[in-house]
Symmetry: C2
Subunit: 424 residues, 2 copies
């Protein structure tokens, strides 16, 4: 089944808000072999919304719209839906009740604009939004094609898709093709070098298997997709293909699930009973943030220090001011001491550290923007075992921070695997 | 001028990568009064790309495609462009030279797949990509409409749009309408309550002015857009409208430029010569990250502590273990001591702190998921002045972290404004 998604909102087109709903929808429907065929993002303009819906129905049996339903621009999208599917806007008392109950839990009174959200086209079936005030509207065309109008707030879209809309869509539509996926996360290759390495193997793949490259800074995800009528056959086929990839790339394979470097380090910490700390200069808290964004991180993350100023490096991480003066803050000596200092300061057993120049200012001929020293330190019975490496990263400040974050975490993962072993 | 943007790539449709290029393009063209009319995201499928380009040209004179040009899937998009605009794929020696120069700076050798990137349709004019290996291709239709095929790596797209593609598009197309914008950032309102407050004023707006609501967690951006033939007139009109909004919402207006809470706090710190520190439990480094993501942050950010474990709260921030035992880590007492401890530990003069339950686990009946204590502490001649507030936030872990980040920063901004004055 191939869906079309129509994110609606001027805020998307002017670049104030990034649409993350369409990606979330794609990830949530993937396990059923469903795919997003196209994403048509339009503004809060009736003619554009009407045209996008018509185009979407040309190629898809299911269309999901997100957004265009906030209290200040509600009428517009709903009137468009009335014009397309017929009916008129009338108040649905069950929606009014739902909004009142929701607002009272938040200690807010119902005002007139929010009350207007209970107006819905008579041509739709309402699915109550249990986490927001905008009702979800399910429309059916005479030919059986379905449009579901969902709110645009990502948390509401995700919750209601998972809990209500997707189960109802799966019941209404269903597929016979069995789908299977396997993932291998590879580090230490450029995309084109990896493609050359795998080219011969890839060209011999049978037609029921397909290989996709999904590069991220510092990591490449290889995904094997299989489709077949026999679920057991295709499951074993994608597993076999993933095992062959791992045999070819060897130790460059760092994980066989579709997770990012922060999740891999959390996994290694849980497996070996380690406690994680961070000591961040140029990454400014992003390593800690990327780790703690993952539910359950508190079991294995002690905390960390953002040592932006040299004073903080000395005060909290114990890096001697003389060492900083002698080698500079962006140096192997300092970043090693930062990682070891983070272990001491927090009581953790594995630490990663960064010190570099994220730019756009601050570069020198010796240490241009993008120069980042990274270290990882693992507490062993013989004391801390510390490794460091130098990266030269390119791109914007944000990209350099993201790339340094991934590489520092990979350095920690590699140190754990080399010291304590890895069954991945 | 209204552009259509076509992001190309299976990775976008399966939700592995989020398209940020279309928003970046919208923001970059806005100062010239140009807009993105629609975004058509399609996979690496010739028929879909062909259809999207045809649809885009129906409503736009300028079409920008992003992506579909990596070394592993290059031929496909280029062949589609050949089919549409004519010509054949031939090697462009200037592109080969550019790729070789770029790779040699990175210390990488040219391999066969990268070399294939120098094949371009004879029907296009090449714009050299100075920051990546995929060439930019400019196509013109007989009717004067233009398609520019750009790489998909956000840093490359942004750099080359700014430095080469946009200047050339502006020269080729131009507009006579004068455009002006003004922004007021408002805190402490829900979107619908603010809309009610402004409703009478908004309904009296002249036709050349338009008000847009752009809510973010904890902040609402109000943007006044004006269009007119007289640039001076429309500039003064949007300024007048913004001043009227500020008069209506009073102290709820926290900034008059389109910046987020982190940038507002950096601005306040610069204005008053303050040095910023963070002490984060549930936000896990996100406050520090959001501050240090902004270029030049190092001037006013000392650093911070991610005190995920109670041990780190005690060791690095000096929060007595007895206080944590008596009140719990998520308490007003602890979060106040965290903020004050951050000042002492780092030598900063303004600190923000959080301690809460980001979920999905860890909630209790007393302190459910979303309970977050926030504090801000400002060093004054009489010692630290500390304020705290309790938030009950809803949504996913990531949303709770983001909302707590914004609210903690706003608490710091408000403390600075209340104590030291504000001319915003």
């Amino acid at each position: 089944m191939q869906l079309s998604v129509i994110p609606i909102g001027d805020e998307l087109l002017i670049g104030q808000v990034t649409d993350t709903n369409s990606g979330m929808i794609a990830r949530m429907i993937a396990p059923w072999g469903w795919q997003v065929r196209q994403v048509l993002t339009v503004g809060d303009a009736p003619a554009e919304i009407t045209r996008a819906i018509a185009e979407a129905f040309e190629v898809s049996d299911i269309v999901i719209t997100t957004g265009g339903l906030g209290p200040t621009k509600d009428d517009l999208t709903k009137q468009v839906l009335c014009d397309i599917f017929g009916g008129t806007l009338v108040e649905d008392p069950s929606v009014t009740e739902n909004i009142k109950a929701l607002l009272s839990r938040r200690g807010i009174e119902l005002n007139r604009l929010t009350a207007a959200q209970a107006l819905v086209p008579t041509s739709c079936r309402v699915i109550q939004n249990l986490v927001g005030t905008a009702p979800i509207m399910w429309f059916e065309r005479p030919d059986g094609k379905v449009l579901v109008a969902m709110p645009g707030v990502p948390f509401e879209t995700e919750t209601m898709l998972r809990d209500a809309v997707l189960p109802q869509l799966l019941e209404r539509f269903h597929s016979d093709t069995a789908i299977a996926h396997a993932v291998v996360m590879v580090e230490g290759f450029t995309e084109s070098a990896l493609a050359e390495t795998l080219e011969e193997w890839e060209s011999a793949l049978p037609p029921h298997l397909h290989l996709a490259y999904l590069p991220k800074p510092g990591l490449i995800r290889l995904r094997v997709d299989g489709t077949h009528t026999d679920p057991d056959f295709i499951n074993s086929e994608v597993k076999r293909a993933a095992a062959e990839i791992k045999a070819i790339v060897g130790t460059h394979a760092v994980a066989d699930t579709d997770i990012d470097a922060p999740a891999i380090l959390l996994d290694r910490a849980r497996r070996h009973g380690l406690l994680i700390a961070t000591a961040e200069s140029c990454t400014g808290g992003n390593i800690a943030h990327s780790l703690t964004l993952i539910p359950g991180a508190s079991d294995v993350v002690a905390g960390g220090v953002v040592s932006y100023s040299n004073e903080v490096k000395t005060r909290l991480l114990g890096v001697p001011a003389e060492t900083i003066a002698a080698h500079g803050a962006v140096s192997e000596e300092v970043v090693r001491l930062m990682a070891e200092g983070a272990l001491r300061a927090t009581g953790a057993t594995i630490a990663v550290a960064t010190s570099g120049i994220a730019g756009p200012g601050g570069g020198t001929p010796d240490k241009p923007v993008g120069t980042v020293w990274m270290a990882a330190s693992l507490l062993t019975p013989d004391g801390p075992r510390t490794v460091a490496r130098l990266g030269h990263f390119t791109g914007s400040r944000s990209r350099i921070i993201d790339t340094a974050t991934t590489h520092a975490l990979l350095l920690g993962i590699r140190l754990v695997d080399d010291t304590l072993g890895c069954e991945c």
